[in-house]
């Protein structure tokens, strides 16, 4: 089996360390035991070659044979097709994993990402737009609290949908946004206790600190 190549930045500032999205891919690769190696591109100088693989100048992207894939959601879905450790093989299971993967991104992270931009900025102004964003996140967390109260993982077994959802909720937790959502907090703790997460997280931290 040819080794896949995961590309991330060579270095990032302290604040995003442990949260750069190559983590999601490392985590999935570790869960599945798929062989891979990590390559770097410059954080400070993003050249045309970088934009040819990731048109927004972001990371990560994954090379798998002749395919080069960007967007963490698309990469996770690609890897899930390669391993039942990441997605059941039956049509019902695949469909459920796919919809929850999109839900983690487009129903939950769509709310948590703008919310986190205000947290990063230490911006506390209570303007109408800001209140919309706060209400948007609370509505999503309330529903996730109800959904997760009934199950250990989003579908019948651990999957890429959990990698995505746990990583999204982890950033909310970082800013203490799960204080009123103990079920979501327990879910994040359960997911991040997995050896594959611990390995992936340690590897990302080591990768960025090697360039300090």
């Amino acid at each position: 089996m040819t080794s896949m190549i995961l590309t991330t930045f060579d270095w990032v500032p302290d604040v995003p360390r442990g949260y750069v999205r190559d983590l999601r891919i490392r985590w999935a690769l570790e869960e599945a035991g798929l062989p891979y190696r990590v390559e770097s591109v410059s954080f400070r100088d993003r050249n045309a070659e970088h934009f040819s693989h990731q048109p927004f100048g972001q990371v990560p992207w994954l090379a798998d044979g002749s395919l080069s894939i960007f967007e963490s959601g698309a990469i996770l879905l690609h890897l899930a097709e390669r391993s039942e450790a990441l997605m059941p093989a039956d049509p019902q299971g695949r469909s459920e994993v796919t919809q929850w993967l999109f839900a983690g991104l487009n129903s939950v992270e769509a709310a948590s990402l703008p919310w986190s931009l205000f947290q990063f900025s230490a911006d506390t102004a209570e303007t109408p737009g800001r209140q919309h964003i706060e209400a948007f996140l609370q509505a999503r967390l309330q529903r996730m609290e109800a959904v997760l109260a009934e199950r250990q993982w989003l579908v019948s077994t651990f999957s890429v949908a959990d990698i995505l959802m746990a990583d999204v909720l982890r950033l909310v937790d970082r800013f203490d946004g799960l204080a009123d959502y103990p079920v979501c907090r327990d879910y994040v703790a359960r997911a991040t206790a997995r050896p594959a997460f611990v390995k992936a997280h340690g590897d990302q931290m080591a990768h960025f600190s090697a360039a300090d």
Copy 2:
């Protein structure tokens, strides 16, 4: 071929009409010529049956045989597997459509959705968090302007990635956010001139006004 069932709200206020996400699904179904019918759930009273299909109490969801799928991205990908009018059949083409579908959602709409919440609120306060969101959208639009300058559609042929991306950019255009991005504006015009969009949009408008 059994007819699929697309579920949306019975009614919505004037402001979101023409932009409710069932439009994306109608559009894809029309492009592919797949048989479907539309059913409604109450906008004002969202019951347990609704939450069992769409755990956030949103719309749309699609029933296809024994599968019930929520999240517009997941539904579009499901439909794309059923028709080459929505995605090429070869691995390279499928991979490119998938990554651009995620990019429309998670690189562009992730920026445009919070931006639009401020537009809907007529919130003009220039706080640090707001400035982050504005810069986030501008960075994404600048890149889309460069990407679209080189091509008619995101991959070699029109696909669900274009349905998604054009619908996302259409909402930015509604608030005049594409004034400095003529290539993006032309792309939206090109996509929404397609007969399948015109049919889908007209059908959504008629559906909601029938309940006034």
